[in-house]
């Protein structure tokens, strides 16, 4: 065997190894003729389909660093590796996997346990309607269904199928028709059989002067997916030896405000309809699909640290109603204190003008519908 032939054998062997995944990737993907509306409707109905899998989400949003927001800054600004086992809406588990540790959410009817390996602590909290988003909100099925909620047929169109987690996923695109929205479009690919979303991409209309409109804000996708019912033992948490278990009534400042603040938000705000499905609470939630407006009433002790944090955030603007920071499609407006010592933290995927208008309307009503 000549030298040249030996090197050819090695080169061909290596190329074959490298090409194998590309070839699998290039295999034709089976699409279906299903309409966008029908697919979106099936996605909405998939909430009790059991599944499990590994997902990864990537956020490009730079949220002001504040302890108040918890892990939200990481979730929206970094890459997050997730694992999930979903038996039903009342029985699931989501792990945030880190290289040398993890924090897990175990959810059941009566509450949610948050396990952090690095500190060996488990924290049990009640289930609430309003809270700061956590890792579970980044799961493609949860995020996808939320974004397609209330979609109108004229907003939807089909996308070509793509292979995601080994499945020929059907794609649907939503372009919000609401003027108030800062979302350019949302793209969701779902499992063809169960219609569980496998990949979600959110593109924002940008606020920042340097950002281009239509840039990706958040993507999340399964890398492996199974629609089999996970074993019940997996979603059940039993404290391991050496760990500490705590019980907490209040999850974060948003849920605290919702439960304890006296305000009763109006039915509509800044032209957006209410979104709350639960019993009354002080936190205002409006909008449809990817368009979301949230107003949290804060008393001074809660608002001041956030205001301080905003003051030291690059790109912060003073507006007529308060402090404003925008990152991608996400706007954060903390209104100046009113006569009763209340500030509103207004945030969501709406235009800055919408946030201003909401602030003005809340100031006029004092936060009482």
């Amino acid at each position: 065997m000549t030298t040249a032939r030996r090197w050819w054998i090695v080169a061909i062997g290596v190329l074959a190894l490298l090409a194998a995944p590309l070839l699998v990737h290039a295999l034709p993907v089976e699409d279906s003729a299903e309409s966008a509306t029908s697919l979106a409707a099936r996605i909405q109905q998939s909430h009790d389909v059991p599944y499990s899998g590994s997902a990864e989400s990537t956020g490009t949003l730079q949220l002001p660093a504040s302890t108040q927001f918890g892990a939200l800054g990481d979730l929206l600004g970094e890459r997050t590796r997730l694992r999930t086992w979903w038996r039903s809406a009342d029985d699931w588990r989501v792990d945030t996997v880190r290289t040398t540790g993890e924090s897990d959410l175990f959810h059941d009817e009566s509450g949610t346990t948050r396990w952090v390996y690095e500190s060996l602590t488990a924290t049990r909290t009640p289930n609430v309607f309003v809270r700061i988003p956590d890792a579970s909100d980044l799961l493609p099925p949860i995020l996808g269904r939320r974004l397609l909620d209330g979609a109108r047929p004229d907003e939807l169109s089909r996308l070509p199928a793509e292979r995601i987690a080994g499945r020929d996923a059907l794609g649907v695109r939503l372009r919000p028709s609401d003027q108030q929205s800062s979302i350019d479009r949302v793209e969701v690919w779902a499992d063809p059989e169960t219609a569980v979303p496998l990949r979600v991409e959110v593109y924002g209309d940008s606020y920042g002067p340097t950002d281009q409109p239509g840039q990706v804000a958040v993507t999340t996708a399964f890398s492996s997916f199974s629609s089999e019912l996970p074993a019940a033992s997996i979603t059940r948490f039993e404290p391991p030896p050496g760990s500490t278990t705590r019980f907490e009534r209040v999850l974060d400042f948003a849920s605290a405000a919702d439960a304890f603040a006296p305000q009763e938000p109006p039915a509509n705000l800044a032209g957006l309809g209410g979104r709350r499905t639960s019993a009354v609470g002080a936190v205002a939630v409006y909008g449809r699909g990817p368009t979301l407006l949230v107003g949290v009433p804060l008393w001074d002790r809660a608002a001041d640290p956030i205001r301080e944090q905003l003051n030291s955030t690059a790109g912060m603007r003073h507006t007529t109603s308060g402090h404003f920071v925008g990152t991608g499609p996400l706007g954060v407006l903390l209104t100046d204190e009113d006569a009763f010592g209340t500030s509103w933290l207004l945030t969501g995927t709406v235009t800055p003008a919408t946030l201003e208008r909401a602030a003005a309307e809340l100031a006029a009503s004092g936060g009482f519908g």
């Binding site: 090197w7 490298l18 060996l120 391991p240 030896p241 050496g242 760990s243």
Partner: protein, 271 residues
């Protein structure tokens, strides 16, 4: 030939000096932890190190995590870099080849002896880690259960099984470095040059892993999945990265060893 290579590896003083040095650091860390009782802040430092303060059962893993990023690959690169170049330098290569030993066979025997060296080293690190952990840090809970990463209780048997799997995984993780150093070793008569070449590649890989701009490259870097042995202690075991890590090492092995074979079998031995 394989047996002869193993005998040569085991009878070389350098093998044992290297293993002793590899074990010195985890032992020192264990002593410091036991004396000061100051662990790394949660979520910092090598894997499992914050957990071993309460339970020495996991110390074999912490010891592995301590030697894995630098010490072990340096040792592997030195051993593999020396494999062919060292024989060439000493002049023994020509006598082996006229003995005759087939060149392909020699290369494979060298690789197997390096893998055996890694396995031996890793097993010793784990066993010594266990002894040191038990003696200095205690065995925590009387139930014999240990908290896994996912907040499940692992029995002693489970811990032992998964530690063995971790040992195997760490050993196989070194295949890429070993094959690269072996490849370089067939190109040069300088053992040190081959070892340094392989180390430069590893350092580049480690650096690129910290660089967001290199995100597209990262899944293909040899060091990318090294720490995936931690995934063995999640529940259920997270196989994805472990499998990817093994496949990646396999591809590096085939590529580097193939190139080493193509070069070595058609090379003029002039040393």
């Amino acid at each position: 030939m394989i047996r002869v290579e193993l005998v040569k590896m085991l009878r070389r003083p350098r093998t044992w000096v290297t293993i002793a040095m590899l074990n010195a650091l985890p032992t020192l860390v264990a002593i410091l932890l036991a004396v000061t009782d100051v662990g790394p802040r949660s979520g910092t430092g090598p894997a499992f190190l914050s957990a071993v303060l309460t339970d020495g059962t996991l110390y074999p893993l912490a010891a592995l995590a301590i030697v894995l990023p630098l010490f072990l690959p340096v040792a592997v690169a030195m051993m593999a870099g020396e494999a062919v170049a060292g024989e060439a330098q000493a002049g023994t290569l020509r006598y082996l080849l006229v003995r005759p030993v087939g060149r392909t066979r020699l290369l494979v025997a060298k690789l197997i002896s390096i893998v055996m060296f890694v396995l031996l080293t890793v097993v010793i690190v784990a066993v010594l880690g266990y002894v040191v952990g038990m003696l200095l840090l205690g065995d925590g809970d009387s139930s014999g259960l240990v908290s896994g990463v996912s907040g499940t209780s692992l029995t002693g048997t489970q811990i032992a099984q998964r530690t063995m799997m971790a040992v195997a995984y760490v050993t196989l993780s070194m295949l890429g470095v070993a094959a690269l150093a072996l490849l370089l070793s067939t190109f040069t008569d300088s053992a040190l040059g081959a070892a340094l070449g392989a180390l430069a590649f590893l350092i580049a890989s480690t650096l690129l892993l910290t660089l967001d701009a290199a995100a597209a490259l990262q899944p293909y870097l040899p060091t990318r999945y090294w720490l995936a042995f931690v995934d063995l202690f999640r529940d259920p075991i997270l196989w994805g990265d472990l499998v990817r890590g093994l496949l990646l090492q396999g591809v590096y092995l085939v590529g580097f060893l193939g190139a080493g074979w193509a070069n070595f079998t058609s090379k003029d031995i002039t040393s």
